[in-house]
């Protein structure tokens, strides 16, 4: 099963390379040639690629199409946003794990009978944290360059 999945991945990778070769962006390598000779799946893919090209050539398409730079830049922006979102999601999961561990440790501490200490700490923090506000705002102003 695992081997099959790995093989499928390999075929995908090779087929992507074939597309590049078909459009002249890459050269044939010996390894690829050998693979194409022996692999039925990739052979069928190569033939389909040719058939598709033949079919498309029947249409009267302009040889050089104008490319809208705004479209490309918007596509790049979208891709960047997607990457950023994915990275943020991964980090959020990591944070969630860390937070669960920390709160789990706190819960364990409470379970061991130290709940009073935690509660006192919470009350103390509720009272003391607002005193840190001027300091935090000062830091903020410094960060903003005032």
């Amino acid at each position: 099963m695992l081997k099959n999945q790995k093989n499928h991945k390999n075929h995908k990778k090779i087929q992507e390379e074939m597309i590049d070769i078909f459009y002249g962006e890459k050269e044939w390598s010996e390894e690829l040639k050998n693979h194409l000779d022996t692999c039925r799946e990739c052979g069928v893919f190569w033939q389909e690629l040719h058939a598709l090209h033949d079919k498309l050539s029947c249409f009267d398409l302009p040889q050089e199409m104008e490319i809208d730079d705004r479209l490309i830049s918007s596509a790049f922006k979208k891709a960047d946003l997607f990457k950023k979102k994915r990275a943020n999601f991964k980090e959020s999961i990591l944070f969630l794990g860390t937070a669960t561990l920390l709160l789990g440790a706190e819960s364990w501490f409470i379970y061991l009978g130290n709940g009073m200490l935690i509660l006192k700490g919470q009350i103390l923090m509720t009272v003391l944290v607002p005193f840190a506000l001027p300091f935090l705002l000062k830091l903020r102003l410094a960060k903003e360059g005032y």
């Binding site: 959020s92 944070f95 937070a99 709940g115 009073m116 509720t126």
Partner: protein, 92 residues
């Protein structure tokens, strides 16, 4: 004052998820705003609701007027994009 062992366990089961949700929300919001997300996120795990209020005040209150050159609404001095109109207002 009663010992905490007498406090119903369900209260802790309520408090812990609230802290978790608060911390996660602060973490994600800080990430969006380009703040120190880990620092603020862990800060959000410590206490409810005072730490959330402190976070909201520090990250949202604008102390010095700095109008956006496109829409005129006040924004922070270190913003790269205006959160109201989306125009670029500073260097990244």
């Amino acid at each position: 004052m009663h010992e905490l062992s007498e406090v119903p366990v369900y209260l802790w089961f309520i408090l812990v998820p609230i802290l978790l949700i608060q911390g996660l929300w602060i973490f994600q919001d800080a990430a969006k705003r380009g703040e120190h997300k880990w620092l603020w996120g862990i800060f959000g795990l410590l206490n409810v609701p005072s730490n959330l209020l402190i976070y909201l005040i520090v990250t949202r209150v604008i102390l010095k007027p700095n109008p956006c050159q496109y829409c005129g609404k006040n924004i922070r001095g270190n913003y790269t994009y205006c959160p109201h109109c989306g125009e670029k207002v500073g260097e990244a």
